[in-house]
């Protein structure tokens, strides 16, 4: 039924409110994996983010309740958590990058052992995202050009596809490129200071699963 509604919106040449809300929801999630600026931190702390997630997810027809505000601690703590989880200055760490959680390439001809290993950057998935970004006439910042399968970009892209009413493409995208979140979560929880990120990933996975 959900799908038909969405398709209906597309066919009518208009994007439904529901679609817009769904797309916006992922913009919010995408934002959470960027470096935590003070402003974002404040929004998280005063519950603004939780509120928006609640409203948007309800509108989108995938209601979830989050309480990230209870898990973030001080600004310094969230910065520390970001560093510990994603930067690699301490180990273990869990970069929010799809390639790391997938077999590097399925191309058997490669003569480097990366081929069938996990844990490396610029895997097949990164190339695919780069391809999608280019084909859709989009651009990503230089800093992320070589890490196009960073979770932030994946979520923004997913949001964009939904926003533009490319529903079947979005579905395919979700299936192909947002299926690694459980592995990501498992890596995150091995890090001592993993909140709020592990919970964000959990909730994100929850809304994607619906």
């Amino acid at each position: 039924m959900e799908k038909i509604k969405k398709w209906y919106g597309v066919l009518m040449g208009s994007i439904t409110e529901q679609n817009k809300a769904y797309a916006s929801l992922f913009i919010i999630f995408a934002d959470l994996f960027k470096y935590p600026e003070k402003e974002n931190y404040n929004e998280l702390l005063n519950g603004e983010i939780d509120k928006q997630i609640e409203q948007l997810s309800r509108l989108a027809g995938h209601p979830i309740i989050t309480s990230f505000k209870d898990e973030i601690g001080s600004y310094e703590e969230i910065v520390q958590a970001f560093n510990d989880c994603f930067l690699g200055i301490t180990t273990p760490f869990a970069p929010p990058v799809e390639s790391v959680y997938k077999v590097w390439t399925t191309d058997d001809s490669f003569q480097v052992p990366l081929k069938n290993q996990k844990g490396h950057l610029l895997g097949d998935s990164a190339l695919h995202i780069r391809h999608i970004v280019q084909a859709l006439g989009l651009e990503i910042p230089t800093e992320y050009e070589m890490m196009p399968d960073h979770l932030t970009i994946l979520l923004e892209l997913y949001s964009y596809l939904n926003q533009e009413g490319l529903i079947s493409e979005a579905e395919q995208f979700k299936k192909d490129h947002l299926d690694w979140l459980p592995d990501f979560y498992n890596s995150l929880i091995k890090i001592e200071r993993n909140q709020p990120y592990s919970n964000i990933v959990l909730k994100l996975n929850e809304v994607l699963k619906q």
């Binding site: 809300a21 916006s24 913009i27 919010i28 995408a30 960027k34 470096y35 600026e37 928006q52 409203q55 948007l56 910065v79 520390q80 560093n83 930067l87 690699g88 200055i89 301490t90 180990t91 790391v100 590097w104 390439t105 399925t106 191309d107 001809s109 490669f110 003569q111 480097v112 990366l114 844990g119 490396h120 950057l121 610029l122 097949d124 998935s125 190339l127 695919h128 391809h131 084909a135 859709l136 006439g137 989009l138 651009e139 990503i140 910042p141 230089t142 800093e143 992320y144 070589m146 890490m147 932030t152 970009i153 923004e156 892209l157 533009e164 490319l166 493409e169 395919q172 995208f173 192909d176």
Partner: protein, 731 residues
């Protein structure tokens, strides 16, 4: 209602409308896409290996922008198509997610915050400016591994800092310093035509140059005699005709004994000495009593053997050489300088310079430069903070090399305020890490690495990551030196792979930094333009170089008898160094005892060397190379069987190694292949940056045990003048 992200990463590209429909070019299905890209073509891009500083030529095979395979480049005179274990290993590092992926700013002990390149340049540039404006440009230090990288010099010139410091004082500085003073430059052995080779203080099978090993084993096939003098039965000794274990620190005595035999038995090449040597009599005057017998007492090698070496050298001269050595002898003993001098003298006595099977200078060439684009003011050049080449401090040390182990001292004395480290990690590769950690007291420390090395983690205020070598194009290099090759070669690193992170090339880092510092257009050229300008005078186009990978220039160094001249004051090989006499030294080598001697049953001299699959400290985080270490017990400390038995030690036992600087534990390898006076450790281990997880905490490093000493003549660290006591147990 809808939250508009202030910082959305995804932007609609300029000139493209929003997609109303799915573009035809889009392959949305990942499986289909992954299948499609398998049809991409494989291309070949030349580069130079970064596994050590030999710059072996290699081909990077690339498919869809990613590394497909690496292979040695046949044409390169260092690799001759071969790569060693490190070469294969470090290429693989490129996709390691543990690299420093973007600029980092220190926000606390062991705490960093990622920042954008713009912020990084702005902050580093303005801070450097403030500090130098206040204290003077000569408080700026650029410390690097050394070699052929050039861009920093431009900045140093403008701000008036002479402080370009390399790692050489911890490696082989006595050799280059002295060869330059005595014969005007380095000379390299001709493996292909020699009939008799002595290797002392250099293990080509550990510190590998693949082409050297190829040529040495080929020579061996032909029946050439190979002698290895080394306290340790090193990898090269495996294929040698003879291993002569020498008491560590006494190579000088051996050389004096050989010289004495050559001269007293009239075996030396008199005509060569007459024509091309200055100061022979002066040398002989001081050493005519230093007989082979005396040398035998000191070295533990029999007088007969010493005489035999001298006679065999003479008998095969000039198709014979005493290899000029490397790290093993030239920064590690109080008598390293004199040892280097004697190396020149022995080769001169057998008259093998410029002779087939002897020693030759490196063929070279000169590159052009991109046109200057900076015409602004330049500060007056200050004096060197480390005192290298400075009267009253270390006048005999080559200013071009510097004294890296003094950096913490310079900072403490206020002589250095801003320190940049470029692919250099003194916290692990220089003596006494606890002392080196004081580097963090500088006003500003910037590290330009690939990985989270100790220096970055413990001292850097900013980390500005450089691209992996396969991701960057660089200023071309002349491939020459260390081993004789009749023609110079030109090669370069070309960008083979897409970068996996937001690291940059050195040139771009310096452009950003200097611009923020307030110098505009200091590097007004791109790397492509730099390469074109460099290669221009030689008549090579960058495209051609990229296609061939390595281009050999005209043959320029061939054996000759006529017209030999040396680039010294007398145009001869000077057995007596004038500059030394000026400083009050006698100027010729005489016997000097090592600084310290082990006494008693549990005292040993701690010596070190390279393992064939690691490059000192920089490869220990590679999982493949560390797997070799694990399979072959590579972190074990070698100890002579007899000494071990006395201490009740068996293979694999844990021991505690201690002196007044450090206490460490390790396991022992009990072997017949080591001089009883010493213990030996590979120079590779002891990584203590916990970010380098494959290497972290494995083994220990000799630097843990040595103080940051400075030799008065050439500035080296005397890295093997180190006594440790060893006792059973510890783990």
């Amino acid at each position: 209602m809808q939250k508009i992200s202030r910082r959305s990463f995804l932007k609609i590209a300029a000139g493209v409308g929003a997609a109303a429909a799915v573009p035809l070019t889009l392959t949305m299905d990942f499986k289909v896409f992954a299948q499609d890209i398998q049809d991409d073509k494989v291309t070949k891009v030349p580069s130079l290996c970064n596994g050590c500083s030999s710059t072996c030529g290699l081909w990077a095979y690339v498919k869809n922008g990613r590394l497909w395979k690496v292979e040695g480049n046949e044409a390169n005179m260092k690799s001759m198509g071969k790569l060693c274990a490190r070469g294969h290993g470090v290429a693989y590092n490129v996709y390691d997610p543990g690299r420093v992926t973007q600029p980092m700013k220190r926000v606390g002990d062991n705490k960093f915050q990622p920042i954008s390149w713009e912020e990084a340049f702005q902050e580093v540039g303005t801070k450097t400016r403030q500090i130098l404006d206040e204290h003077g440009g000569d408080k700026f230090v650029w410390a690097c591994h050394g070699g052929k990288e050039t861009y920093a010099a431009k900045f140093l010139d403008v701000i008036g800092s002479p402080n370009y410091i390399t790692h050489y004082a911890t490696c082989f500085t006595a050799k280059t310093n002295i060869w330059d003073k005595m014969c005007g430059g380095m000379y390299n052995p001709d493996f292909d035509n020699a009939k008799y080779m002595i290797f002392a203080g250099r293990n080509y099978a550990g510190g590998i140059i693949p082409a050297a090993m190829k040529r040495i084993t080929e020579a061996k096939e032909k029946g050439v005699k190979i002698i290895v003098v080394d306290p340790r039965f090193c990898e090269l000794a495996t294929i040698a005709d003879e291993w002569i274990p020498i008491r560590p620190g006494t190579d000088l005595a051996l050389y004096l004994g050989i010289a004495h035999t050559l001269i007293s038995e009239n075996l030396y090449d008199k005509s060569f000495v007459e024509q091309f040597v200055f100061g022979f009599d002066f040398f002989w005057m001081y050493n005519k009593d230093f007989s082979a017998e005396k040398a035998a007492e000191i070295t533990g090698i029999s007088a007969d053997k010493i005489k035999e070496l001298a006679r065999d050298l003479a008998a095969n001269a000039p198709h014979a050489f005493l290899e000029p050595g490397y790290h093993g002898l030239h920064a590690h003993y109080k008598n390293s300088n004199e040892t280097a001098m004697m190396n020149v003298i022995i080769n001169a006595l057998i008259g093998n310079f410029w002779r087939e099977g002897g020693l030759f200078p490196a063929a070279s060439t000169t590159f052009g430069h991109p046109e200057d684009t900076y015409f602004g003011p330049k500060a007056e050049m200050g004096s060197r903070a480390d005192g290298a080449g400075v009267a009253g401090q270390y006048p005999l040390v080559e200013a071009g090399r510097g004294i890296p182990q003094r950096i913490p001292d310079m900072i403490e004395k206020g002589q250095a305020k801003v320190v940049f480290f470029y692919h250099y990690n003194p916290l692990r590769s220089a003596p006494e890490p606890e002392y080196q950690k004081k580097i963090k007291n500088a006003d500003l420390v910037v590290s330009i690495p690939c990985d989270w090395n100790e220096t970055s983690v413990y001292t850097a205020d900013y980390i500005l990551p450089e691209n992996h070598y396969l991701e960057r194009m660089e200023h071309p290099k002349v491939i020459n030196g260390n081993i004789y090759w009749a023609a110079a070669q030109v090669a370069a690193r070309f960008k083979a792979l897409d970068a996996t992170s937001s690291s940059l090339d050195l040139l771009d880092i310096l452009k950003g930094f200097t611009t923020a510092y307030g110098i505009n257009n200091l590097y007004g050229f791109t790397i492509e333009e730099d390469m074109a300008a460099s290669l221009g005078p030689i008549g090579i186009s960058p495209d051609k170089l990229k296609e061939e990978g390595c281009i050999e220039l005209r043959t320029s160094v061939l054996p000759k008898i006529e017209g030999i001249t040396f680039n010294t004051f007398t145009h001869k090989i000077e057995f007596c160094i004038g500059a030394w006499k000026k400083e009050g030294f006698i100027g010729v080598p005489t016997w000097i005892s090592p600084l310290v001697e082990p006494q008693g049953e549990n005292e040993f001299r701690l010596i070190h060397g390279k393992q064939p699959w690691h490059s000192h400290i920089m490869t220990t985080n590679n999982p493949y190379l560390m797997a070799i270490t694990e399979d072959y017990n590579g972190t074990y400390m070698w100890m002579n069987t007899e000494r071990a038995t006395k201490l009740g030690l068996k293979e694999g036992d844990w021991v505690t190694v201690a002196n007044d600087i450090a206490t460490k534990t390790t396991q022992v390898h009990v072997t017949e292949g080591l001089h009883p006076d010493c213990v030996w450790v590979p120079s590779t281990y002891g990584t203590y940056s916990d970010k380098l997880e494959n290497g972290y905490g494995k083994g220990f490093n000799y630097n843990d045990f040595i103080p940051a000493r400075v030799d008065e003549k050439t500035g080296h660290v005397m890295g093997q003048e180190c006594i440790v006591t060893i006792s059973k147990g510890g783990k």
